[in-house]
């Protein structure tokens, strides 16, 4: 199942996890030390982040390390950029409409 990427970053703990593993890949145990929650809670957050493809797992010996997928994070900004463009188009159309109406009404 593909989860919603915005849901992934909406949670403050998950944002903190992202910030930590952006610096270096970490194990769930090492991550749990940074939070006042259980190791199970951290694992649940990691599972959601994994389902969003924001993090990937890497087996090193007996430990599993989680690393951040930087490219996936960039997708979020690209989406937002597209939303901004919708508004720019919409508003340039409104600019044109207002100018047309003013001309019709004989305003300068």
């Amino acid at each position: 199942m593909r989860r919603d990427i915005f849901q992934a970053i909406a949670d403050p703990t998950r944002r903190a996890i992202i910030a930590l593993i952006a610096l270096q890949a970490m194990t769930p145990n090492a991550l749990a030390e940074h939070f006042d929650t259980t190791r199970q809670a951290v694992s649940k957050h990691l599972r959601i982040l994994t389902e969003c493809e924001l993090v990937t797992q890497e087996q090193k010996g007996r430990e599993i390390y989680y690393r951040l997928e930087i490219e996936k994070m960039k997708e979020i900004d690209e989406w937002l950029e597209q939303y901004r463009k919708i508004w720019e188009t919409r508003y340039s159309q409104l600019d044109d409409l207002l100018a047309t109406i003013k001309k019709q009404k004989g305003e300068k």
Binding site: F6, T89, L94, D95, L97
Partner: protein
């Protein structure tokens, strides 16, 4: 135009100044026949099926693609202070006006200074999943709009 996304508060803020008096800009946001002329980014068109601009009323409209595909939405007006502010709850819908929740809460503020009108909109999405969907839909529209604008420009250049 100023466009700010606050991911933590799930709010998008858009501010823009228009070279027109407030009464005209207000009409452009609150009258169906005017809204339909600018609301949909080209080459999409906006088609308002029903609209009663009053508290408790709504605008039921479709965004129509060049191929004729309709994407329906409803804006339910929750508060109106004439020529100053209005608020609505926005949600996608099917063609029979059944809402697809969750939606988003819109707060629109209007003010005039020196013959120019500033409009500040803030959009709160209770679900960021929905925001992703809006943006994903817009991705296609945005790309098409750019092509259309380019065609317009090329048309002008070749005629000129």
């Amino acid at each position: 135009m100023e466009f700010i996304v606050d991911k933590q508060t799930k709010t998008v803020s858009i501010t823009k100044e228009f070279a027109a008096h407030l009464s005209l800009v207000w009409d452009a946001y609150t009258q169906a026949e005017l809204l339909d002329q600018w609301w949909a980014p080209k080459p999409m068109t906006s088609r308002t099926k029903a609209m009663d601009f009053e508290v408790g009323g709504r605008r039921f409209y479709a965004m129509v693609s060049p191929e004729g595909d309709e994407r329906w939405a409803v804006q339910k007006y929750t508060s109106i202070t004439p020529k100053t502010n209005f608020k609505f709850f926005n949600a996608f819908a099917d063609k029979d006006e059944n809402l697809e929740l969750p939606g988003s809460d819109w707060d629109l503020n209007f003010s005039e200074q020196d013959g120019k009108t500033k409009v500040s909109i803030s959009i709160y999405n209770e679900s960021l999943e929905r925001m992703e969907r809006v943006i994903a839909m817009g991705f296609q529209q945005g790309a098409e709009a750019q092509l259309q604008n380019l065609e317009d420009l090329l048309g002008k250049l070749t005629q000129g």
